[in-house]
Amino acid sequence: METLVVAVLLTFLVIIAIGIIVLRDLLGAVILLGVYSLVAAGAFVVMDAVDVAFTEAAVGAGISTILFLGALSFTSHKQKPRGHDSVFALVFVVITGSVLIYGTLDMPHYGNAESAAQTHPDLAVRFIEQSGSEVGPPNIVTSVLGSYRGYDTLGETLVVFAAGIAVLSILGLKRRRPEDDVLEDAPGDTAAGASDDAKDHN
């Protein structure tokens, strides 16, 4: 049953991905990207990776969709039609894809109890058996992220920080135009807003 659900969700992912490629309307493509993340989050939940699903739903379906929409507001909603499709690109993509799929053949199957990560005494075995007495939290993911692999998470936080700094230095800081600071009236907030509202109804 679980396999069936995962199979259906993964099929959906492929269909949505093809849809994103085919769509020329960028707004639609961005919405589909959000849907893609939501379906991926569903797949993660079925596979019991709740923390990953949480992140995928919040970041992929939430924030990144909004950021894409914000980026779209700088440009047009239509993708420029391309003159020709490059054969070279197709060959390149097919070869890269095949190599990647070939790479997955060596990986252990999903849920394989014999895989190295499951049997190595310092990995899953240690985390599951010892983390309660060594770190404490019932959520082992938190123990691994924060304590056993705290240094990695520090690097991750630094990456987020660096991304913020990079965007600020490219887009932000100095370019505040005066009209950005003008408050626009919302209905019901002020007398002026209320009278504007009345005009709208007429």
């Binding site: 959520n139 987020v160 626009e184």
Partner: protein, 142 residues
């Protein structure tokens, strides 16, 4: 996309007013309940940030900017990283390895609890500040 709505969208505005506090509360819940259930600093930061982003989308960026000025975000961004790295520095000063929380309290488990609490808070503060400031920068130019 129009990021500066004027007199329309009253239903959205009312719903947003109701939703934003709930979203902030849920963000805090995910932040501080990450030890016991799914979640943690990163997810909490994103949820916390998305509450402000929703506010900005519906009420216009200027109003959100008044609540949370970009300057404050710059401080929060660095403060989170500082809190995380500072926890590491404190553990080293107290005689442990970097980010070895055992030394933070007499009981190693309590030390771990304090350590996790403070680094998750650092992650949450940085992530939410970065997300909101990304939104500010992408939305402020038409």
């Amino acid at each position: 996309m129009k990021l500066y709505p004027r007199q329309r969208h009253r239903i959205l505005q009312v719903v947003t007013k109701l939703l934003v506090p709930v979203m902030l509360m849920f963000g805090l819940y995910v932040q501080f309940h990450g030890d016991y259930g799914p979640g943690g600093g990163f997810q909490a930061g994103v949820i916390f940030g998305s509450a402000f982003i929703l506010h900005g989308l519906v009420f216009g960026l200027q109003r959100t900017r008044e609540v949370l000025p970009p300057r404050m975000l710059h401080i929060m961004m660095s403060l989170g990283v500082l809190l995380y790295a500072g926890t590491g520095a404190v553990t080293m000063l107290m005689g442990g390895n970097l980010l070895d929380y055992d030394v933070l309290a007499h009981d190693p488990l309590h030390g771990q609890h304090w350590g996790l609490f403070s680094i998750e808070l650092g992650v949450g503060v940085t992530v939410s500040a970065v997300m909101i400031s990304l939104f500010y920068n992408f939305a402020s130019k038409r």
